[in-house]
């Protein structure tokens, strides 16, 4: 088991180095950071001095190596635009993004499962058909459009919910949370729905399909023959057996929820890491771009690692294969 984990961790480091390398080779196409740092009428000599100070003229492999050596010590450099350490900036933005991602995932799970169960049990009802249609919209409409529609309806027309920001936040240690204030909850509703909508429809469709499958299984028929109530059969037996793949998918999707938060955060001016990243791309702020990509890469790697480990805990059959050297 230990050897398996060590092997996996080593692979994870390899993946992160690859992410860094790909990111660094892409930055050359992002444009010249100097032009975003100084005004247009800045003399060329001043530009050159800045370029020199930032080490932008060094060959890419040298820049990459320098970056990696510092990154290992959790030093991600100083943002070109903000003149602040990138690690501090990401740390101050991370709570907003993670909170949004968690609320969006919970929303997607709860609503998705309820809708999925309903449309599996009452397959032919009008509401189930409506839910199916809604899910099609959720899966095909682009995120920014949903966000803008929500803002237009609930902020501009009805005036119920704020159109931007995070509301009032409370600081607890190094973490800031909006979940302890009414304005924080009001502010998170629309971004969480926008971000979670895709996952919600995915989960709904998954639950529905799994449910329909399970309801045809022999043990459900036996349960009915034993005279159990519909409630016990549907929720005690069928739903429980449906949830295993649902939880797996939702867990694996968490990484992409964090990554896709970029668009939602931009639409709602949500002060998280995704917004920081988008603005960094526009301004060619390489230290932020690099650190964010590494961070998202790390999230994916960690989630996969945890899932792998959990599988071996859950399914003993996998354990024997682990001992075999690969």
């Amino acid at each position: 088991m230990l050897a398996f984990i060590i092997r996996r961790v080593l692979q994870a480091i390899g993946v992160l180095v690859a992410v860094g390398l790909i990111a660094f080779s892409m930055f050359r196409f992002a444009g010249d950071p100097i032009n975003q740092l100084v005004s247009l009428d800045t003399p060329a000599a001043e530009r050159e001095a800045l370029r020199d100070a930032l080490g932008l003229d060094d060959p890419v492999p040298a820049q990459f190596l320098r970056y990696m050596v510092e990154a290992v010590q959790f030093d991600f450099g100083i943002s070109y635009q903000f003149r602040q350490p990138v690690s501090d900036m990401l740390a101050s933005r991370a709570p907003a993004t993670l909170e949004l991602a968690i609320v969006a995932t919970i929303f997607a799970m709860v609503v998705g499962i309820l809708m999925g169960v309903y449309s599996a049990l009452r397959r032919d009802s009008a509401l189930a058909k409506l839910l199916q249609a809604v899910s099609l919209i959720g899966i095909s409409l682009p995120t920014f459009l949903i966000g803008i529609l929500l803002i237009y309806v609930f902020s501009v027309s009805l005036g119920w919910l704020p159109s931007f920001g995070r509301g009032e936040v409370v600081r607890i240690g190094g973490w800031t949370t909006g979940l302890l204030t009414a304005s924080g909850w009001a502010a998170i509703i629309m971004p969480a729905i926008t971000l979670g909508l895709f996952q919600m429809t995915l989960i709904m469709r998954l639950v529905r399909a799994e449910m329909l499958e399970v309801l045809r299984a022999d043990y459900i028929r036996f349960a009915r023959a034993r005279g159990l109530t519909d409630r016990a059969i549907n929720f005690g037996h069928a739903l429980k057996n449906t949830l295993i793949p649902v939880i797996t998918v939702a867990g694996l999707q968490f990484g992409s929820v964090v990554a896709f938060a970029i668009i939602t955060e931009t639409v709602f001016q949500w002060p998280g890491m995704g917004l920081l990243f988008v603005q960094a791309v526009q301004n060619v702020d390489i230290p932020i771009m690099a650190a964010y990509l590494m961070f998202v890469g790390a999230i994916f790697v960690v989630i996969n690692l945890v899932v792998d480990i959990l599988y071996t805990v859950v399914d003993p059959r996998l354990r024997s294969s682990l001992r075999a050297p690969t």
Partner: protein, 531 residues
């Protein structure tokens, strides 16, 4: 009351079925598309940053609502020794927000700091100017050569407190490559009408009225809450839903919608920036063209043909929705006294075709065009309009529209002026023609900053000579006459095709009064709310 609590108020109002208005007359909530990145006033020379910091810091001079130079931290000044010595009398009894008095030492310190490495404002103060402290409230600036526009940009050369900077180790402007963050990037200590009480970079900044300000405030605000909102649709929605009071800019396509709402209005006016087209007139063969062995843009007739083929009125009506002012000159009319003596050559595609034929291109030619797509108002759409107008006279333009990060990396000096035909915008930082002539029309020369942004390499020695004279001529009338001579040469040679001045568009909630200055600085110390 912050915008957060007002959001709370709005939310609870919705629940109670009541309205929560009034009660917040003293807080102005302002959203801009850009962040306030660093509070160090010498880090980034950009209109929005200068405007934000102008609430906290002040220069020796100020610019009024009509952009006229007014006394700021200097009460008065006089020019001695034939223009080689300027004497500034500093205002007495002014204190910085931390309580330190403002004295001549602070001016000397700021003059060194603004010219230090890492400052983006090095050109604000001539490198060879010496600052001499005469007494605590008198400073002399000794120059090598007379400079009639020495203080033209001093309204945004903000004076910092020497003691404060030394106390926190912020004696040098924060260079982008700094290993440690500077205290001055996150904190501010000026003499201005507001102080910064909360600054979360990229999230929000709170400006609180400074009760010890030396001047009489024109605003009636207690605080200003600034939030960056990058997305156009969200920024407009925030204004329409009453969550913010002022937004800048309002996207051109949303102006009518905001005007039609009963909550807000749009303030528009011509901006000082001139949008123009430039040609590569330097290379013997264009980089992006099917014409081989010669450069068609070296022929003045081809440049004139381009000028005549482009209908700036149509661009105004169709692309800019009426919100642009076609230009005859490369400088905004507000900034040059004799502007009205110049007229934009009329749109005349027939004449353009004739000129092209005379120049030896009866069937036109093909040329590549570089254009930014996220820098100026509707920049890409303007370029597309230009492409189709030139197609009518037989010139095929291959448009390469890119984000500004890539565009500027390609066309500027650092990219080797890699362009044949391009669109650019220019606001003279000094609000003076010398900057336009020197930077955009001066012959490029190795080792001199002159003409560095003259991307097409236009060059006429007569213009260069005039530029030298304009720099040192102190008599305003004579100086304006020299400028006029220079523009007569450059427009006669069609050095550029000026298109238009784009419009300012600020969204303002009802009940808020603002002063809109043509340089697009949103200065809320002139704002009044709720009276």
């Amino acid at each position: 009351m912050t915008h957060r609590t007002s959001v709370l108020a709005l939310a609870s109002a919705a629940l109670l079925g009541a309205t929560a208005l009034g009660a917040q007359a003293a807080t102005l909530r302002y959203a801009n598309q850009g962040d306030l990145k660093s509070l160090d006033p010498y880090t980034l020379n950009e209109t929005t940053a200068n405007a934000h910091l102008g609430h906290v810091y002040e220069g020796l001079t100020k610019r009024g609502k009509d952009l006229a130079i007014e006394p700021g931290l200097a009460e008065s000044w006089e020019i001695l020794d034939d223009g080689k010595r300027w004497r500034f009398k500093l205002r007495e009894g002014v204190t910085f927000q931390n309580g330190n008095p403002f004295t001549a030492d602070d001016v000397l310190f700021s003059a060194d700091r603004v010219r230090a490495s890492g400052s983006n404002f090095q050109t604000r103060v001539p490198a060879d100017a010496t600052f001499v402290k005469i007494d605590d409230h008198t400073v002399d600036v000794v120059l090598q050569t007379p400079n009639p526009i020495l203080n033209a940009q001093w309204d945004t050369w903000y004076i910092m407190d020497q003691e404060w900077a030394q106390e926190f180790g912020a004696e040098m402007p924060t260079p982008a490559s700094a290993e440690t963050p500077s205290h001055a990037a996150l904190n501010a200590n000026g003499t201005g009408p507001f102080s910064i009480t909360v600054h979360e970079p990229g999230i929000r900044t709170v400006f609180t009225a400074n009760p010890t300000w030396w001047d009489e405030p024109e605003h009636n605000l207690d605080e200003i809450v600034f939030t960056p909102i990058a997305s156009d649709a969200t920024r407009v929605a925030a204004l329409l839903s009453g969550e913010v009071d002022v937004i800048e800019p309002v996207p051109v396509q949303d102006i009518e919608r905001v005007r039609a709402s009963d909550r807000a209005d749009v303030l528009t006016g011509p901006e000082l920036r001139t949008i123009f087209l430039g040609f590569d007139q330097d290379r013997d063969e264009l980089l992006y063209s099917n014409v081989e062995g010669e450069n068609p843009f070296k022929d003045v007739r081809v440049r004139e043909a381009f000028m005549r083929a482009i209908d700036a009125d149509l661009i105004r009506d169709r692309v800019m929705r009426g919100l642009s002012t076609p230009s005859a000159l490369m400088i905004a009319p507000e900034l040059f006294a004799h502007s009205d003596e110049f007229e934009r050559p009329a749109y005349d595609p027939e004449r353009a075709r004739e000129l092209l034929a005379e120049a030896g291109y009866p069937d036109g030619f093909e040329v590549g065009m570089d254009c930014p797509n996220d820098r100026y108002v509707n920049d890409e759409a303007i370029c597309q309009g230009v492409v189709s107008m030139l197609a009518r006279v037989g010139v095929t333009v291959n448009l390469n529209a890119q984000p500004k990060a890539q565009y500027f990396a390609k066309v500027l000096k650092s990219g080797g002026y890699d362009t044949s035909f391009y669109l650019l915008g220019w606001t003279p930082g000094t609000f003076d023609s010398h900057n336009v002539l020197n930077d955009l029309h001066g012959c490029r020369a190795e080792g001199s900053p002159r003409g560095e942004t003259n991307l097409g390499g236009y060059c006429n020695e007569a213009v260069d000579e005039l530029i030298e004279q304009i720099l040192v001529e102190s008599d305003e009338e004579k100086r304006n006459d020299l400028i006029k001579q220079a523009y007569e040469i450059t427009t006669g040679e069609f050095a550029y095709v000026p298109l238009h001045q784009q419009a300012l568009a600020w969204g303002v909630a009802d009940g808020v009064e603002l002063v809109q200055r043509a340089d697009n600085q949103v200065l809320l110390y002139w704002a009044r709310k709720g009276d």
